[in-house]
């Protein structure tokens, strides 16, 4: 008996008696043909005591260099933000951590109300009236928006700016290969923003959707108005992938008339976790409410007039609509979305502005102070891209100083082979930025290295 099961020998005897068999093997013999029975133990190590598992996992974890071990300017879709302690204390509660999907609403009012509050917060940030209760993460949400556009328009092309995250572009292409759509990428201009003319030229009568990102992958604040216009003129849907925190101070995609806004939610109260789990969000204009993927919580009343919440518009979903469903998604990321709405409540109406303004000013300071050639010289928030003459040299010096300078752009953007993407969050202080700047000049000043664990105020 393992520590998670309870059947004693006495229990087993009683249970087998009740079933009417002499042994469990009788059941397997009768039900499973011999030719598919595994007649040897699984080739896996034996089970371990809890303390040994604990130690083993601890040793594995210790071999990772994480964001408390070094000052990290890595971004590119996931960010080292401060996650307040109240989030952990709430999301580790059994009543949020362990229940199933709220298909029995009478005993799931907590989870359903959380979804409703989350949907509201996303709607507010994106400026679009309807939001679902989460998707898996950012890039697959972009692909899912493409699927909605394909079903809606019955057209077969997608036009996507290279300003959209490389993982999103690749994921869209993977999904599109299934349902038979073509993906066309359009370039960035010399200022690291989406080339509007190139985008407009690529859009035709067979374009189901046009995709842009705000801020774009390089951190450029895109001028959404002309981009949306370029997309809409032939009746294509416009999908904007957005980074939620900068939306505190950026005019939201909804105001520009985009059809769908999706994005990566990790920066809203979720851990880095080596890339997941986090959540994706999916918000849209009202007319798409019955076409959207994923779960949606709605407000209603019970038999005694009490306010309550239920999963609504379920006929869109796979368990009812099956092959005609708007999407195949079932399990999404409810717990991570809970962390997201707690975080947004913690930041609050003013905090989301203050945090974004802080990131904006620090980004500006970082770009100025680094003094390197700008790939995207226009307005940027939270990230920016620069050319570094000797990237290997910088990374070697930085490693010794306990700093991770950022993301090398070369693999995803051959046009920026010597490019570095630097991410700034509220955790990156002036002192740390100054340290990075010192490293960027040839050689390093030993006096500026400071505390490599980033604890220098």
């Amino acid at each position: 008996m393992s520590r998670y099961t309870s059947a004693t020998d006495a229990d087993r005897r009683e249970m087998l008696d009740a079933i009417g068999v002499g042994s469990l093997d009788e059941i397997f013999e009768s039900e499973i043909p011999e030719e598919v029975r595994l007649r040897r133990p699984l080739d896996l190590p034996p089970g371990m005591a809890e303390q040994d598992v604990n130690d083993h996992l601890g040793k594995l974890a210790a071999r990772n260099t994480h964001c408390d071990d070094e000052v990290s300017f890595l971004g590119a879709g996931m960010y080292d933000h401060y996650v307040p302690a109240l989030i952990d204390s709430i999301i580790t509660r059994s009543e949020f951590l362990t229940p199933y999907t709220p298909y029995q609403p009478e005993i799931s009012q907590g989870g359903l109300q959380v979804m409703f509050e989350f949907q509201t917060a996303i709607s507010e940030l994106t400026g679009l009236p309807v939001s679902n209760a989460s998707m898996y993460e950012g890039p697959s949400s972009v692909a899912s928006a493409g699927y909605l556009a394909k079903l809606e328009t019955k057209r077969r092309r997608f036009v996507i700016s290279r300003g959209v995250h490389p993982h999103s572009r690749e994921t869209l292409a993977t999904y599109a290969a299934g349902f038979g759509s073509e993906v066309v990428e359009t370039p960035l201009d010399d200022a690291g923003a989406t080339d509007v003319e190139a985008l407009a030229a690529a859009v035709d009568d067979d374009t189901a959707a046009v995709f842009v990102q705000q801020p774009n992958f390089l951190g450029t604040v895109e001028d959404l108005g002309p981009l949306v216009e370029a997309g809409k003129c032939t009746g294509a849907l416009v999908v904007c992938a957005a980074d939620p925190l900068p939306l505190g101070i950026l005019e939201p995609p909804g105001s520009f008339g985009v059809d769908v806004c999706v994005g990566e939610g990790q920066s809203l109260g979720n851990r880095l976790d080596f890339g997941g789990p986090s959540f994706g969000f999916f918000a849209a204009q009202e007319r798409y409410i019955r076409k959207m993927p994923g779960r949606i919580a709605g407000e209603t009343v019970d038999a005694e007039g009490r306010r309550g919440f239920v999963l609504t518009l379920q006929t869109r979903e796979q368990h009812i609509r099956r092959e005609k469903a708007t999407h195949n998604i079932c399990t999404s990321q409810a717990l991570n979305a809970l962390a997201g709405v707690i975080y947004l409540s913690w930041l609050g109406k003013r905090g989301v502005v203050e945090l974004a303004e802080l990131m904006l000013r620090r980004t500006h300071y970082a770009r100025e102070t680094l003094g390197l050639e700008r790939i995207n010289p226009g307005p940027v928030v939270r990230e920016f891209a620069v050319r570094v003459p000797d990237l290997d040299g910088l990374f070697a010096r930085a490693r010794d100083a306990g700093i991770n300078p950022g993301y090398r752009l070369g693999r995803d953007y051959p046009e920026y082979e010597d490019g570095l993407l630097v991410a700034i969050t509220e955790r990156r202080t002036k002192t740390q930025i100054d340290q990075l700047a010192a490293l960027c000049t040839k050689g390093s000043d030993p006096l500026s290295v400071g505390d490599s664990r980033g604890l220098t105020p």
Binding site: R290, Q314, T315, I320, R321, K324
Partner: protein
């Protein structure tokens, strides 16, 4: 909800739709059996006026909370009117499936098709089978 009934003056389709013939026009809807199986209707998305409907093919969907049902055209023709009131009060389909719950009015393209429909006795027989 309405009492079970199948008006004798109507024609019936085996997929639980009815037709009320009026010269070269007809009104379509779903039968009491269909609305009972569906449960409370929450949404009906009508076809546009001017659309062609083809006998035995689906021309719209009716949704309840837990199910979606195709609505089949008993006869072929062109949609000349749709019941817009159902957008606000789709439950009329349950309360009055043959009256206020009508779905579309159609100008028939082939009156001969009427012969293929079931009369009320044949439809009732089908239900008890």
């Amino acid at each position: 909800m309405a009492e079970e009934s199948y008006p004798p003056e109507l024609k019936y389709h085996p997929e639980h739709d009815w037709a009320r013939i009026d010269g070269d026009e007809a009104t379509f809807g779903i039968t009491w059996y269909a609305q009972d199986a569906l449960g409370e209707v929450v949404f009906y998305d009508p076809p546009e006026v001017g659309t062609t409907v083809t006998a035995n093919e689906s021309y719209a969907e009716v949704e309840s909370v837990k199910a979606v049902s195709d609505v089949f055209a008993p006869l072929s023709g062109e949609v000349i009117e749709v019941n817009q009131a159902l957008a606000d009060t789709p439950e009329r389909i349950n309360d009055d499936p043959y009256g206020e719950g009508w779905l579309v009015k159609v100008r028939l393209s082939d009156s001969a098709e009427v012969e293929t429909l079931l009369d009320v006795e044949a439809y009732r027989k089908l239900l008890t089978a």
